[in-house]
């Protein structure tokens, strides 16, 4: 039997506010346990949650970016369950009236574009952290994370493969960072995802029973978890069995998914509107304000890079995938005097390569766009060749000197003086009469040998175009 995989994602993006969703405590990552958990976050009696206006603005911004309906009124609800890192006994979330309604996002898989529906996006608070190790049989609770604002983005079951699911997740990841509403840091848990998976016989319209894989925080694990879960379900279905609707955990070490039975009974959350919070109203003023702040989105930027700079699709895609990377590239184009293609190569190849090696992001680059622009200016005005520029780039990486200083102190200036180049070439021709005869007898390939020798003798500093020209003339004689 041929099976079709049906996947929907619930993505949790932590909003990058300074304070929590319902209290004025800091959300900074990495503080000592419980030093950023105030009375509201601890759920002490008598406190009242007050909504952070920045959280509302960010959710509206996201809604606009996916062309979604934004609710005039949205309502917070209590989701009730007991767990020690949830001190109130309920999580404040949204149920019937989420802030962001139906929207969509286009993904690329291969050279196909596919539209994925977004069912809704709602605001909620995060829970604290449980530490299970080494407290003499007790569990330690850190409530610094309790009350951190989250935007939960729920997709339609529109994805049909692990590839599509990862492409969609990457697109959302890219978008929230573009909008500057989340730092998207997956190691710190700022961006994580639940995956709903079911199988159905190809051609059938009804969905099969689904399993939910909880809390996956890397693209690689999402892909692997889907492969593993699809295999598990396929085996059960082909043996004539049926899938149980349940929450499962993906164990990356064992590459298997397993049931979280303890979650089953608790799945009755008894949602009801939170009496501590009034309906949230989105005014037309706020809508207009957010709309005006909306940056150029990744897809529009990519199209502009294709049209304005005539980049290849892959380069445009790569550069437009991150806003700081795109800004860096455009700064180079404006100030370096080099072609957009040269700038694109330097950013995508030299710079990105060096950053990846050190595991740095573009914003942590030791070479700023201004410094790199000066280096590229020296290629554009023929002071150095592209090859020598790579040497200068390496030197710039490890100290703060400008490209000009490095070229000067290391004596890397290109030799464009044809007299100097002629002298080198004369000597090489005199020393290699055998090769000269081969060349004259029609072996054109030997020409490369002469170019190589000349560049070597000049320590790479001779202008290659000049070398070619002079060599051709001299060898003719």
């Amino acid at each position: 039997m041929q099976w079709e995989t049906v996947i929907g994602l619930e993505i949790h993006a932590q909003l990058s506010t300074k304070t929590k969703i319902f209290s004025g405590a800091s959300t900074a990552y990495g503080a000592k346990p419980n030093t950023q958990a105030c009375a509201v976050d601890l759920g002490l009696p008598g406190v009242l949650p007050v909504l952070n206006q920045e959280v509302v603005r960010m959710a509206v911004k996201f809604g606009m970016a996916i062309e979604a309906e934004i609710a005039d009124y949205s309502v917070f609800a209590r989701k009730n369950y007991f767990y020690p890192d949830l001190p109130k006994g309920y999580q404040i979330s949204q149920m019937d009236h989420p802030i962001v309604g139906i929207g969509h996002l286009d993904i690329e898989v291969g050279d196909q574009t596919k539209r994925i529906g977004v069912t809704r996006a709602h605001l909620e608070e995060d829970a604290g952290k449980s530490l299970h190790e080494s407290f003499h049989g007790s569990t330690g609770i850190d409530l610094n994370r309790a009350g951190t604002p989250l935007l939960e983005i729920v997709s339609e079951p529109d994805m049909r493969s692990a590839k599509e699911a990862v492409a969609y997740m990457r697109k959302i990841h890219e978008l929230v960072q573009y909008l500057e509403i989340s730092d998207g840091n997956m190691q710190e848990g700022s961006f994580r995802c639940d995956v709903n998976i079911s199988l159905r016989p190809k051609g059938q319209t009804e969905y099969g029973t689904r399993a939910e894989l909880k809390n996956i925080n890397s693209f690689k694990f999402v892909e692997k978890a889907i492969f593993t879960e699809v295999e598990r379900q396929k085996e059960i279905l082909e043996a004539g069995g049926s899938i149980t609707q349940e929450t499962r955990l993906y164990d990356a070490d064992k590459d298997e998914t397993r049931s979280m039975r303890s979650k089953e009974e608790a799945n009755d959350y008894r949602y009801f509107p939170d009496p501590d919070l009034l309906p949230v109203y989105i005014s037309s003023e706020l809508r207009a304000q957010v709309k005006a702040e909306l940056p150029e989105l990744p897809e529009a930027k990519k199209q502009r890079f294709l049209n304005e700079y005539k980049l290849e699709a892959e380069a445009a895609n790569n550069l437009a995938s991150s806003r700081p990377l795109a800004d860096y590239f455009e700064a180079l184009v404006k100030t370096s005097g080099c072609t957009a293609k040269t700038c694109s190569n330097w950013v995508s190849v030299e710079l990105s390569g060096a950053l990846n090696k050190k595991n740095l992001s573009i914003t942590q680059s030791p070479i700023s766009a201004e410094r790199l622009a000066q280096l590229l200016q020296r290629i554009a005005d023929n002071t150095i060749s592209g090859k020598i520029a790579k040497q200068v780039f390496e030197a710039m990486w490890s100290n703060n000197d400008s490209a000009d200083t490095i070229i000067e102190t290391k004596g890397l200036k290109q030799i464009t003086d044809s007299g100097a180049i002629e002298a080198i070439i004369d000597k090489i021709i005199a020393d290699n009469q055998g090769q000269v005869e081969q060349y004259l007898s029609g072996k054109d390939k030997v020409f490369g040998f002469f170019v190589g020798q000349t560049m070597k003798a000049s320590q790479g500093k001779a202008n290659p175009a000049e070398v070619n020209k002079i060599l051709k003339e001299k060898l003719k004689r």
């Binding site: 601890l42 959280v55 299970h132 009755d268």
Partner: protein, 95 residues
């Protein structure tokens, strides 16, 4: 709609309430009466009435995104039964 004693036991478990078995019958009756009252209200035609999310007819006030809370960990932990290395300790929970 009437509840069964099993329903009542489940509701009590979800709310983590320890109820006395001899009281279950009276709880079942009381809760069923409440549901009947709701049923009675449901029979009223509300097609042209906009549902309220809150009895106060006003909107949520928002606060600026500004840190106003200090670290009061020691103060809060002075009433906690058990703490260690800044953490609140609770009986072991594992999934």
């Amino acid at each position: 709609m009437s509840l069964t004693t099993d329903d009542v036991n489940k509701i009590a478990y979800l709310a983590r309430l320890g109820i006395n078995a001899k009281d279950t019958a009276s709880y079942t009756e009381n809760l069923s009466d409440m549901l009947k009252l709701v049923e009675q209200m449901s029979s009223i035609d509300t097609d042209n009435v906009t549902p309220m999310a809150h009895p106060l007819d006003t909107i949520q006030r928002l606060r600026p995104d500004k840190i106003i809370e200090d670290n009061q960990r020691d103060h809060f932990q002075s009433i906690a039964p058990q703490t260690e290395e800044g953490l609140y300790l609770v009986p072991k929970v594992l999934d």
